[in-house]
């Protein structure tokens, strides 16, 4: 029988486009120290560590071994879990299973990325098949641009509909002291920003950020001791369903991986009407069009209704289901940490530690991870022990 697990502490670095003041290990250490402090423990109390990043970005192989001075893993069990953009969520889910298995009571999950030291696009292009895909349809922006175009054609959504997501998230980021981009933007700013790949403009996409995130997972019994209000893990679900970009382009079907993963998670967490029952969603939205389309796959609204749902203010801080109080990925994107930041921010809301970005009463929170070949990870957290 799995033992119950909760998040009891989180730590994140000060995110910037370039952190020349710290090495990778030191940057990891910054997040780890803050996470330990958040739940009032020291590294001696940590039983095991799970860490992840994208190897080719900083060109460091076996990051679990390399990072020991930063992670605090000397003479501890450490494991590396890496799944591309979903890495942060995969690390969180692995930390969950470390505890749920009964093998460990206090586990540290770490995601990090020092994008300033890499050619992100150059590295990410190598994710596609070297013979068939790499020279035609690869990298992050081309595949997302194709998805956006198909969605606009199908449902009549406009570039302005998508731009509203950037305006919402970037303005939410002003309340988050850890957010990388902290400049208010308008619809006009997004619309007049340089076109990268039609219809995606510069302000429609996430930045590249240096940063790290650490989250402490604890077992039932221990969790109540370490946190006044632990964020209990109610459900996790994963779908990394395609290997080829060409297989994931049945755009009529939506983002299949997210639809399937969220259905499973809702079922596990006993949620039938997510938009009403969830109090907040921290979504891995790497570009604005995801913010109007993928919320349909999450069943926040009906097919083709995403743009209107956002336009009507349902996802604002005072709306039915606030999305990304932290400012989301559009404001901060340290890739290996990005999905773990979603989990951390969702748990911060449940624990009531969100400061200026805190929502009044959060009982249930959703976090997602996105990456790879249109893959999705989902975690649902709750205030009740479940």
């Amino acid at each position: 029988m799995a033992q119950k697990v909760a998040i009891v502490g989180t730590g994140q670095t000060d995110h910037k486009s370039h952190r020349p003041d710290v090495t990778g290990q030191e940057m990891i250490r910054e997040a780890v120290d803050r996470a330990l402090e958040d739940c009032g423990i020291t590294i001696r109390d940590i039983d095991a560590i799970v860490i992840g990043n994208m190897d080719h970005f900083e060109s460091i192989n076996y990051v679990d071994n390399w990072s020991i001075e930063g992670s605090g893993g000397f003479m501890k069990p450490i494991m590396k879990v890496t799944t591309g953009g979903t890495t942060g969520a995969s690390v969180a889910i692995a930390a969950y299973y470390h505890v749920a298995s009964g093998m460990f009571d206090r586990v540290l999950a770490i995601g990090w990325e020092k994008n300033s030291e890499s050619d992100t696009t150059g590295a990410i292009i190598t994710c596609s098949d070297p013979i068939w895909d790499r020279f035609s349809y690869s990298g992050a922006i081309p595949s997302l641009a194709t998805e956006a175009t198909a969605y606009m054609k199908q449902y009549g959504a406009t570039q302005e509909d998508a731009a509203r997501v950037a305006v919402r998230d970037r303005n939410n980021a002003l309340n988050n002291p850890h957010a990388h981009l902290q400049r208010p933007i308008t619809l006009e700013d997004v619309m007049s920003s340089p076109m990268l790949a039609h219809p995606i403009k510069l302000l429609d996409v996430c930045p590249r950020t240096d940063g790290a995130c650490a989250v402490v997972f604890a077992a039932d019994g221990e969790a109540q001791r370490l946190a006044k209000q632990p964020a209990w893990v109610h459900a996790t679900a994963v779908r990394h369903t395609y290997s080829w970009f060409g297989d994931s382009t049945d755009y009529d079907a939506g983002l299949v991986s997210l639809a399937r993963a969220s259905q499973e998670a809702y079922k596990k967490a006993g949620i039938s009407n997510p938009a009403e029952e969830l109090d907040v969603a921290e979504l891995y939205l790497p570009y604005t069009y995801a913010g109007i389309k993928w919320i349909e796959d999450l069943n926040f609204c009906g097919r083709g209704e995403g743009a209107k749902f956002v336009r009507d203010g349902n996802t604002n801080m005072d709306g039915m289901i606030p999305v990304n109080p932290s400012g989301g990925v559009i404001s901060t994107n340290c890739i290996g940490a990005t999905a773990l930041l979603r989990v951390a921010e969702a748990s911060i809301q449940v624990m009531g530690k969100g400061g200026k970005r805190q929502l009044p009463k959060v009982n249930k929170a959703l976090a997602t991870g996105f990456g790879g070949c249109f893959w999705s990870d989902v975690m649902i957290l709750g205030a009740e022990r479940s």
Binding site: I78, T82, R260
Partner: protein, 380 residues
Amino acid sequence: MDNIAIVGVAQTKYAKRKKDKTCADLVFDVTRAAMEDAGLTLGDVDNVVTVSNDFIDGRTISSMAVGDAAGAHDKNISTVEGDGTFGALYGAMRTLGGFGTTLVVTHAKGSEGDVRFITNGMFDPIYQRLLGLESISSSALQARMYMDRYGLTEEDFARVSVKNHANGKNNPFAHLQLDVTVDDVMNSEKLADPLKKLDCSPVSDGAAAIIIANESHVKKAKTKPVWVRGMAHCSDAYLLGDRDLAVPQSLAAASKKAYTMAGISDPLKSIDLVELYDAFSYMEPMWLEGMGFCEAGKGARLLDQGVTAMSGGLPVNPSGGVLSSHAMLVAGLARIIESVLQLRGEAGQRQVENAKTALAHGINGACGQAHCVWILGNQK
């Protein structure tokens, strides 16, 4: 904690170059073979852990290339980067944490990369990489320190190579099928003093898969279950200079924890065979010391006394070990698979008589920075 067991295993024959297969082909082959071994179908596999490494595969998000081949479409899947024993450990945690069955699959094609370049990437990019440190040169430093500490000779290590290569001839999956003598090892090309070519494992292509089942799901499989009685992992310091390279303290810690889980107080008495990660000949005696089979510096004497021979009290690497086949990432999972075959009594010519308890071992990082230890038994 529930009981869990390994109910299906499969490995490819290891070879220098599998030109006719892509990584996905290899993964597909062992996935299907492991299910056939267990008598299970894809519908019985609840979730998947793949093991890959972006540097080795030359692809970022290397797991992208093998998910479909591992049968993970519309299933829960994750990926561990590191040795297969660590991937299996995560698979075991998932099985204990709620899944009925977990498939763990790992692959590597050493032939498609530059192993020196890939293992150089383990080292600190500012201070160490430019020195050219990689797996062989760093291991040579470790071997030398071990020799100096305990007065060991190159011949002590050569005898390990002779034993394991001879064992490899009984293993149809082994990459190298060599007859070698101590003289052959001593006269083979020196790669990094004191390591010679026959002290070093080959670079192999291959893949392997196991299926782990929770006790509630064990009966679904047709095989004799091999029970996981203990498992643990631990990492030492990163910088070689921060470690006592002659004393594998992270292995000692992992072993102790695994023994405690398995209720073992005297490993030499309780364990019938060991499959350990001998990427280099000197590693076998050193790891045996770390595992507590003898005192520090006495590992080579176990070999001299015949303890680690097929006919001895503690046969070590009946399969020929990593010295005979070294597909990176796969090699540790192969140690688990070999142990499973031994405990089922299905190891053919390399079978250790009456094997009831086995130790399987994997390493991560330079000079065995991290270790993973499994205690497997044919009884719960």
